[in-house]
Structures are given as structure tokens and as C-alpha cells.
């Protein structure tokens, strides 16, 4: 069905794909496994015509093809569902499918598409309302739209990039059913992931990539998680976190009956209450878009609460400014590192004093104390292992892991009482991930309260002392991590409320 041979693609300073070859058959689900930055997505972007390879050949159904743009890819029966959905959010589902579609009428094309969509939805078990606007849909529904979009264009080879990262365990099961159905209809499915369990569950064969190269391709029946992990990381992996016993102290954060609106003005938080004590990590689990972002923003002063109270370290800080809250000892490791966490064009030094620039020792009266800033920067760059040629280097030139280290250095060096960490290891490689998790645990052990928001259930399970699950702006239940079962958390993520609330 598909052969990619000796694909090479370089970006400045990086060889993203180094003579990569891949072979996928009709009627198979082929997993592409690798760490972040291993080159999986680059390879698929080449197949889909978004990138041009420096060299290499692609064959579809035995014929050599030149894919110069997504249009070529579509013409050769290739469809792709990107990790970050490529949908026009204000438009309807049908309009999204009709976009750029050949063979639709000039006048009112969405109408014709609506009819075709109904049929496809039924055939593959992908229910969705063609007239709904995309922004109104849940992540799972949006993913269905993406798959339908590809199928409507006659995709025989379907690429899915990290498709389960936005789904509940139940939705994931649904998706796998659809994929198996497609396989039976003779489609080839390429499934990009870094989750071993998914590979074992659904894939027929797996190709493992590491640092831009293929490590090997093998049938899943002939392998196991352990050897796949070794291939993926290149060494023995032990997910060992030195985590002492939890010794909860006084209350670091009390949230009472919190209500808030989303950017679109619809309720995003509907009566959220919980407590984080000093010396414990409370993990917030949940599918993206169930109010986690808003919760973090309200706590850190970036969004107004409509109702309810937030008490930080004994002080009522409801609807205080972000600066007041930060000054009160709240560290915030933001979800959007590049957009919020750093000022990309400014130096590392300048970035390290963000949020602290207005207070001594970095500032006296209206003047910055540049010498103190230099000294501080030098110290924490070493302490937190930030790899940089100089403290004056613009932050945007750092790698993802180093950017996150910079943010942690800044946030944790001020001896906070509460750390709010949103997706702290998202998109980082194994080394940086491990280091950052250790840092968070160190904070907890030194008596800091940590609120951890993450979509990575494994991370939540490994780090948290207690786990709260959010669904549609409410807490479905709070369980102790040692007793938590993944099935139970999955049910809560899908909206099932836990019977008895556990007192904290």
C-alpha cells in the first residue's frame, strides 16, 4: 500500500529524519512509536505534503509518487488527523468538510456535503451533527469530524497523530473500534503515539523511531512493552520516582464553590471545591477542556471568579490581581510555555526575574538592580541546569526542556507556599520529564502544596498523593492515589460521579 524509502529531512541544526524507511500494508494498523522529537510527526508531515523531504522516495500502491502539497497527498488517497485539530472553529461541521473539496457545487456546497456526511457517519459509526459549529463540539467529536473529513476525501491511508491524547479512556476505546472497522474495510491506518499500551492494544505492526532514525519494525504479537520501551528510549527505562511518604501540613490552598466563565462566556467552572495541603500533591485529572485551564487561571489571578472563594496560605485572594497572588507566594508553571511562561525575545536573565522584577532585591524604587539580576541569573542557571551559552541569550533560542527549566527556576527559587503546575512535562523528552517530576516532588517534600494539572494519567498517578477528576467544570470525585484504579478514574473523566466524597 505505502512505502517510504530513505527519507531525509533536516532542519537547522537537527536531522529530523535520517534515512527513514516505512512500509505499511492495506488492512493493517501500523503504529509509529517514539518519544517526543523522535521525528514521527515530521515523517508524516512529509507523507502528507506539508514538508518536502531533502531526499528519499515515496511509493503508493507500488507507484512512485511526488507529494508536493496536501492536495497531492489527498489525490493519492492519504488523509491525516493532526494532533492539534485543523478545523475552522467558527464554521459548521459540513463547511469544514466542504473546504477545498473537489467536485462540490459552487452554490451552497455545505448542503450536498451534509447528505454525504450522514451516510459516512452511519457506515463507520462516527455520529456527528453536520450543522453544529466546531467550537461547540467536544474534543472527541472534533476528532470524528477530522476522520470524516479524511474519509469523505476517499482516504485509503489514514494518519492519526497522537489521537488519544485528548480522549477519555472510554472515548479511546470507541476510537479503536472505529479504527478496527476501517481496517476491515481495507484501509491502512498509521497511528502515531508514544504510549506503549495503545500500541499493544490496537496495532498489528509497529515501527519504532528514535532521534530521527528507525530502530526497527516488528509485529506486535512478537514483542512486549518492555522491549518496545527499550527500543524507544535506547536504554533500560525505570519509571522510578523517589517519593517519600506524604506528610500533609496546614492548608496551602482552599477552593470553595468556585464559578467562572470561559472565554466564550459560558460557564466553565460550576461549583468547584477542594483543598491542597502543604506537603502534598493534588493531581487534577480530566480530558482537556473540562475547566482545568479556567481553574488554573482563576487561582492565579488571570481570570475572574464569578462566585466562590480562594484562600491561599490563609489569605483570601479571590479575584486579586495576578501580581498580588504571585507576591503572596503562589508559583505558576503555565500550560502555554512559549506564549505565557517566557518572553521569547528577551534574555534568559530578564526572563528569570519576570514576576519578581518589581520587588527587592531586583528593583529599588523605579530602578532595576542589574548587578543583582546578573548574580541571581548566574546562580540559578547553574542550580537548575539550564543549558545556555550565556545569560544574555534570548530565551527563544533554548530547547523545550531548557525553557521549562528556566520557568521552574524562576518559579521555585522564590520559596513559594503553593505551586500550580499545568502540564509541566508536556512535549518534553524523557530526561527533562524525569528531572522536572523530581523537582516537583522535592517541593512537596519540603512542605510546599502542589496543584498538578495534567492530561497524562500516568503522570497524575505517579506524582499525586490525591487525585481529583474534573468533568464539565465540576469535580467528579477525589480519591487517594494509592487506592485509585484507572478504570474508576476513567469513569469519572467521562462524567460519572463518585458515590461518596472522601473527606480531605
Amino acid at each position: 500500500m505505502l512505502v517510504m524509502r530513505d527519507i531525509v529531512k533536516t532542519f537547522p541544526g537537527v536531522v529530523a529524519n535520517d534515512h527513514v524507511s516505512l512500509e505499511v500494508q492495506a488492512g493493517e494498523i501500523h503504529a509509529l512509536l517514539g518519544e517526543n522529537g523522535a521525528g514521527k510527526t515530521t515523517l508524516m508531515n512529509i507523507l502528507y505534503g506539508l514538508y518536502r523531504p531533502d531526499s528519499g522516495e515515496i511509493y503508493v500502491k507500488g507507484k512512485r509518487v511526488h507529494i508536493r502539497s496536501p492536495r497531492d497527498a489527498i489525490a493519492h488517497g492519504i488523509g491525516m488527523v493532526h494532533q492539534h485539530f485543523k478545523l475552522v472553529r467558527p464554521h459548521t461541521v459540513a463547511e469544514n468538510v466542504a473546504l477545498g473539496l473537489a467536485g462540490t457545487p459552487f452554490w451552497q456546497p455545505a448542503r450536498v456535503v451534509e447528505r454525504g456526511l450522514k451516510e459516512l457517519s452511519e457506515r463507520y459509526g462516527l455520529p456527528v451533527d453536520p450543522r453544529a459549529r466546531v467550537w461547540q463540539l467536544s474534543a472527541g467529536e472534533q476528532q470524528r469530524v477530522e476522520i470524516l473529513k479524511a474519509l469523505y476525501r476517499g482516504a485509503e491511508i489514514l494518519i492519526l497523530d497522537e489521537p488519544t491524547s485528548v480522549l477519555t479512556p472510554q472515548e479511546t476505546a470507541e476510537l479503536f473500534k472505529v479504527l478496527l472497522h476501517m481496517k476491515q474495510e481495507g484501509h491502512a491506518v498509521i497511528f502515531i503515539t508514544h504510549k506503549l499500551s495503545e500500541v499493544m492494544e490496537v496495532a498489528d505492526r509497529v515501527t519504532v523511531m528514535r532521534r530521527g532514525k528507525v530502530v526497527g519494525t516488528l509485529p506486535t504479537a512478537e514483542t512486549d512493552k518492555g522491549s518496545l520501551a527499550r527500543m524507544m528510549v535506547g536504554r533500560e527505562v525505570v519509571f522510578r520516582l523517589s517519593k517519600g511518604e506524604c506528610r500533609p501540613g496546614e492548608e496551602a490552598l482552599v477552593v470553595e464553590d468556585l464559578h467562572a466563565l470561559s472565554d466564550r462566556g459560558i460557564p466553565a467552572l460550576r461549583g468547584v471545591s477542594f483543598t491542597v495541603r502543604r506537603g502534598e500533591i493534588l493531581g487534577i485529572a480530566g480530558v482537556a477542556g473540562n475547566g482545568q485551564r479556567e481553574l488554573v487561571e482563576v487561582i492565579t489571578g488571570l481570570r475572574r471568579a464569578q462566585r466562590g472563594r480562594i484562600i491561599v496560605l490563609g489569605k483570601d485572594l479571590t479575584n486579586r490581581s495576578a501580581r498580588r497572588i504571585a507576591d503572596a507566594g503562589v508559583a505558576h508553571i503555565p500550560e502555554e510555555r512559549l506564549r505565557m511562561g517566557i518572553v521569547p525575545g528577551m534574555s534568559i536573565e530578564d526572563n528569570l526575574i519576570l514576576k519578581k522584577h518589581h520587588r527587592p532585591p531586583f528593583s529599588r524604587g523605579p530602578l532595576l538592580q542589574l548587578r543583582k539580576v546578573h548574580a541571581f541569573a548566574k546562580r540559578v542557571i547553574e542550580e537548575y541546569d539550564i543549558m545556555t551559552p550565556s545569560p544574555r541569550t534570548p530565551a527563544k533560542l533554548l530547547s523545550g526542556g531548557n525553557i521549562q527549566r528556566l520557568i521552574l527556576a524562576r518559579e521555585l527559587s522564590g520559596q513559594p507556599g503553593l505551586v500550580v503546575a499545568a502540564h509541566p512535562t508536556y512535549g518534553l523528552d524523557v530526561g527533562a520529564t524525569e528531572q522536572i517530576r523530581q523537582l516537583l516532588i522535592k517541593q512537596r517534600d519540603s512542605g510546599v502544596g502542589v496543584l498538578l494539572v495534567s492530561e497524562d494519567l500516568e503522570e497524575i498517578m505517579a506524582l499525586s498523593d490525591r487525585i481529583a477528576v474534573m468533568f464539565r467544570g465540576e469535580i467528579m470525585g477525589i480519591v487517594s492515589a494509592s487506592e485509585a484504579k484507572i478504570e474508576e478514574i476513567g469513569l469519572m473523566m467521562a462524567g460519572e460521579r463518585r458515590q461518596q466524597e472522601q473527606p480531605s
Partner: protein
């Protein structure tokens, strides 16, 4: 003077004054719907005004003047498209440059043409039959420019095109989320070029209307900030061609009133009215949250994900 002739005068003249605003706004709406802000409207309009006048005066054909104005406007917009779409330059600065360049070039070339009345202006039309309707007839169908009517029809056509056709979906998608359109094989660059050029063509006609129809003569800087009013109207109209009609009429009426009220207020103060109202109107748009209609990728150059 009774209220009827007042009303007839105001609405009729508001239409006439609003026509260049309507043409310009329709063009800017399309450019911005594709995600490109063009602050060069003033420059494109003034180039259109001069070229239309020069051609109409030397050939005796005002229609040809308008046609050339359209081409010149489109050509000027092409510069903006090249800089902002291909070279991904800052859209604001490029637009400002286009305005400076346009005002300068028109002023330079127009030196010898200043102050001469146009021999053969574009004739105004009176719609037979319809003009006999009491009140509405003289208000809407008497002594108007053909470009006024074309502009109104164009607004409807552009609205239909935007919301009811395949092209409309493509255009709106390119402005909302170019990466999505690109991933489906839409040529984002081509769409943006075409939209920006269309914007220039319409701005050119708007300028031409001023110099061969409304005030059949050429004076330096005769657009007097209309291009900026157009930018404000685009926002006020919520990027909707039909809404642009009302906005243009309102500002047309304001311009007209700034002459009408001279018996009571100093003319200089009246002249600043449209500009003050433009700020006011945008403040209202801000309060009422109309800005939310802004295309998602407005002002952002598109780069395919290659690092």
C-alpha cells in the same frame, strides 16, 4: 425648507458620499476576511482618484478613468500582497508605507492637474419610473451615480459569495485558520493575493468616484482620510458586506451634515465630525463585543510549519 426636502437631501447625499466608503469598505472586508489588514486604503484611493482623473481628462472617457483607477488600485495592492504574504512583512507597516507612497506619488504626478474641472464627468442617473415614487423616489433614485447602485448590488453579491458558496468557505477559512485550509490543499497564498488585490481594485474605484463623479476635479490629498474611515467601518461592520451598507450610509450622512450645518457651527469643527464619530463608533463596537467577529488569523502572516 420643509422636513421632506431635508430628508431627501440628507439620504440622497448620504448615498452619494457613502459610495466611496462602501466600495472601499467592501474591498477591505475581503482582504481582512483572508487575514490581511491593509492600512494602505488611503494610498490606493488617492492613486485611484488621480489616475481616474488623469485618464478621464485626457481621453474624455470617465468610464475608462474608473477602469484605470481599478487597475492602479489593484496594482498598488499587489505590492502590499507581495510584502505581507510572500515576504511576511508586518502588515501594519506595509500598509502605512503604501499610504505614504500613494499620497506622495499622487501628489507628485498630479502637480500639473490640480484645480482643473473635469471636462466630462461621469453622468449621474435618474432611474425612470422609480424616481416618481413620492419621497423614496427623489431620495434614492434621482441624480445618483451609477457607481452607487453598482456598489449596493456588489455588497449583496459579495455577501452571497462569502456565505453561500464554495469560494466563500475557502476565503473565510483562510482568514480564520490558514493552516487548516493549507492542510486541505487550499493555496493560502493565492487566496490572500486575490483578496488583497480585489481590495485594491475596489479602493481604486472608490478613489476614481471622487475625482470623476463626486467632485469632478483633482486636488492633492482629496481623499482626506476617507481611507482610514474605511478601516474603521470594516471593524464596525463586523466584516460583513451587508452591514457595510449601513455604516457607509451613516458616515456619508455625517460628511454631508458637516456641510449642511455650517450655518450654525464653524466649518472646521464640523469637518472633524466624521473622525470623532469613527472613534466613537469603534468604542461602541468595543463595548458591544462586535470585535469578536474578527477573522481569527487577522494580521498574522502564514508560514507552513517548517521551522
Amino acid at each position: 425648507m420643509d422636513w421632506q426636502s431635508w430628508l431627501i437631501g440628507i439620504v440622497g447625499r448620504a448615498l452619494a458620499f457613502g459610495t466611496p466608503l462602501l466600495w472601499g469598505t467592501l474591498g477591505e472586508i475581503y482582504a481582512e476576511r483572508a487575514g490581511v489588514v491593509n492600512l494602505g486604503v488611503e494610498g490606493m484611493m488617492v492613486l485611484g482618484a488621480f489616475s481616474a482623473f488623469a485618464v478621464a481628462q485626457s481621453t474624455g472617457h470617465p468610464g475608462l478613468g474608473i477602469l484605470v483607477a481599478a487597475l492602479v488600485g489593484g496594482g498598488a495592492a499587489l505590492i502590499h500582497a507581495f510584502l505581507t504574504v510572500t515576504l511576511r512583512a508586518n502588515q501594519y507597516v506595509s500598509g502605512l508605507a503604501l499610504t505614504m507612497f500613494g499620497l506622495g506619488l499622487a501628489g507628485l504626478l498630479g502637480r500639473g492637474w490640480e484645480g482643473i474641472p473635469l471636462k466630462q464627468p461621469l453622468p449621474s442617473v435618474t432611474v425612470p419610473g422609480l424616481s416618481k415614487i413620492p419621497l423614496l423616489g427623489p431620495m434614492l433614485f434621482e441624480d445618483q451615480s451609477i457607481l452607487t447602485y453598482i456598489g449596493l448590488v456588489l455588497a449583496v453579491v459579495l455577501w452571497l459569495l462569502l456565505y453561500r458558496t464554495r469560494w466563500g468557505i475557502v476565503l473565510r477559512s483562510v482568514g480564520e485558520s490558514p493552516a487548516t485550509a493549507d492542510a486541505l490543499g487550499v493555496n493560502v497564498f493565492l487566496v490572500r493575493y486575490l483578496a488583497v488585490i480585489l481590495g485594491g481594485v475596489l479602493a481604486g474605484v472608490a478613489g476614481g468616484y471622487l475625482s470623476v463623479e463626486y467632485r469632478p476635479s483633482w486636488t492633492e490629498g482629496m481623499t482626506a482620510g476617507m481611507g482610514w474611515i474605511v478601516i474603521a467601518l470594516t471593524i464596525f461592520a463586523g466584516w460583513d458586506p451587508l452591514q457595510a451598507i449601513w455604516g457607509s450610509l451613516f458616515f456619508g450622512a455625517l460628511y454631508h451634515l458637516s456641510y449642511r450645518l455650517q450655518a450654525w457651527l464653524p466649518p472646521e469643527l464640523l469637518k472633524l465630525m466624521p473622525y470623532a464619530f469613527a472613534i466613537l463608533v469603534l468604542a461602541i463596537a468595543g463595548l458591544s463585543g462586535r470585535r469578536r467577529g474578527a477573522p481569527g488569523a487577522l494580521g498574522v502572516p502564514y508560514t507552513r510549519g517548517e521551522k
